[in-house]
Symmetry: C2
Subunit: 388 residues, 2 copies
């Protein structure tokens, strides 16, 4: 397939992004810099990536996605929700899809992900596939009476995740699975005794090259990422080597193309366990826009175009990213720019163009510098201007 567009005489490569959220939006600056034509299939008008929205339609509809794919050279994603049937039909018709369906499957289904990671010998929490309260009761009994239950599909930002201490606390989910009639199961995992959460972001191109950023610490509030510290404090040496090795084995083992984020638990006894996978630019990599030589968004474009990957060195010893969650109760983020910019002239502000709404990620800020305490203060102080 070749849909290269003619601008004057110059042929430019077209990357098609399915989904018009902030991840698609943040690919736009990288695409502009590299002279890559980017076209977005958005879910609705007025989405975050509207500037590059070439069409609006349902990503679950084969005809819609096929029509979009015909206008681009490579298809990639703002999210992992495009159905396997649609993805496989694209591949069958010769469309370059990155990441491909065989990899995306493991970001779409947490049970399959756990099985695959276990096959690959990667460290994961104790887990089981459970189809009723009795099976859940057995797992609970074996794990001190508490566990985390997760729906295999559809969860994000803490949704579809529940800590239970009784076998009947997931009955509503078991009932829903029974009604679906797809022989579905829930994932149950041990409640990991962790010191902190880390994330290892890497990129892999189809020809196999892998680029690895430093492992970062992520701070979650209510299941939602609130802050990221890059690199993770006290991670140099063993921990960063271990995280990089795990992510590289995941990327190669699953055949991921594009950016892969591996969310990790650092246990109280110093092990790393894989928590979740995301096969796209990820919140834990947003710091790289300002803090790394190559941002995860530029890297994702390089990777899906099978171009040599960019350097992943830090621009400054420390970067701290703080999400803007919810936003101001009145007005917009931009209304707070005069105060925020005057106070913090060196903090980079990223505004996703989304309406403020409680708990919604509408932007992020990144501070970078030589002193972690200073940049943490700067980033938090700036984000605070955008929240009430």
């Amino acid at each position: 397939m070749n849909a290269r567009t003619e601008i004057g005489e110059q042929m430019s490569t077209i990357v098609g992004v399915i989904g018009g959220g902030q991840l698609a939006r943040m690919m736009i600056p990288a695409a502009v810099n590299l002279g890559v034509d980017i076209r977005v299939l958005a879910e609705a008008d007025g989405m975050s990536a509207e500037l590059a929205a070439a069409s609006v339609g349902d990503y679950r509809d084969l005809a819609t996605v096929l029509a979009f794919a015909e206008t681009v050279d490579v298809v990639t994603f703002d999210h992992e929700h495009v159905p396997q049937a649609v993805l496989k039909e694209l591949v069958a018709r010769g469309v370059a899809v990155h990441p491909g369906p065989d990899a995306l499957l493991y970001a779409q289904d947490k049970l399959l992900m756990r099985k695959r990671l276990a096959e690959l010998g990667l460290p994961v929490p104790d887990w089981a596939s459970v189809t009723d309260a009795d099976e859940l009761a057995v797992f609970l009994a074996d794990h001190g009476g508490r566990a985390v239950v997760k729906t295999a599909r559809g969860g994000y930002d803490g949704k579809g995740v529940r800590v239970v201490s009784h076998a009947h606390e997931a009955d509503d989910w078991f009932l829903a699975l029974a009604e679906d009639g797809n022989d579905g199961a829930l994932l149950v995992e041990e409640l990991v005794d962790f010191r902190r959460e880390l994330a290892q972001v890497v990129a892999r191109r189809p020809s196999g090259e892998i680029a690895i950023w430093p492992v970062v610490e992520t701070v979650q509030l209510g299941g939602v990422c609130a802050e990221v510290i890059a690199p993770a404090p006290k991670s140099a040496g063993r921990l960063s080597d271990l995280a990089a090795d795990i992510a590289e084995r995941v990327a190669n083992g699953i055949g991921v193309t594009g950016v892969l984020a591996v969310e990790l638990f650092e246990t109280t006894d110093g092990r790393l366990l894989v928590n979740e996978l995301a096969m796209r630019p990820h919140n834990s990599g947003h710091w790289s826009i300002d803090g790394s030589i190559t941002s995860q968004f530029e890297q994702h474009l390089r990777a899906v175009l099978d171009l040599p990957l960019g350097g992943t060195a830090l621009r400054e010893p420390w970067s701290v990213m703080v999400n803007v969650l919810g936003g101001p109760s009145e007005g917009s983020m931009a209304d707070r720019y005069p105060a925020a910019f005057a106070e913090q002239p060196t903090v980079k502000v990223h505004n996703y163009g989304k309406d403020p709404r409680p708990g919604r990620k509408i932007g992020h800020v990144t501070a970078s510098g030589a002193d972690l305490d200073t940049v943490t203060y700067q980033a938090r102080a700036t984000a605070a201007f955008f929240q009430d």
Copy 2:
């Protein structure tokens, strides 16, 4: 005037850019990050800033520009060629225009610029306004028999500039002025004995705040900027203070809003003389996209929106920018990415999406790091991949 657009419920500020070249293009990433809606009035389809092109039309046509201005909150520019009559009418109708016509005038007319800078007591080369060969002969006789003659209007990248050693070498330009019948004159300047050329880029917002980047060295080839070294080697102290002081006095004296670039000669006896002014983001500031905390493009948006300006510190001790002039004789810049990216993974490549053509600026590359020799090599080696 308020044309704020509604995206969902969020109102976003709209910056209108007249002209669709690479300077408008490079404002797009900054606008996306800040959540600023950017709309471009392009000269033609397929221009460099096409992604944000809201309309196509002639910037000399009042009705076209007025219609465009009604859709935005503030008007700014990719170039300085919008006629004064059009600019003044915009202002008369209450449109926020940055920089304003009274400032832009001095970027449009080099004779007026020389007169104004002289009034402000700023250091400039010896100069005169000459209307015929006799007057030119007098100037030549007073300045060792050689001088630089410049057309007051319409010159750029070495065009409209001629070194003469005989009074009749500008007869064609005198003839053209006589035919215009506007009592025009040519600018004649001493041939400055300079050590090197520098540029001082600053930004000024309407309320008066000024932000100043380090002074840079510019290397010109055939009147066209080829390389920029930031900061200018051996400029710390006296030279950088002097350059900053000159640019600040120009910005305040002329009332410039937005980014201002002051091109300077460093004379062999250690003085700085003002060569040219540009009232927009400038080639000598492109390094700031990758090498400074705040790029000149983000700063220009902040300034024209009268927002507090961003920090101008260097991200790395040295940045070297090399222009891609002409481009490959066959194919596009992007065709050379596999080789260039593999060789230089840390150099940032900026592709303006323009067709290669001899001498044309179609992109630039920037390398940053702690060692000037290394980054100079990296930037030149990368640019070389894109030229035959």
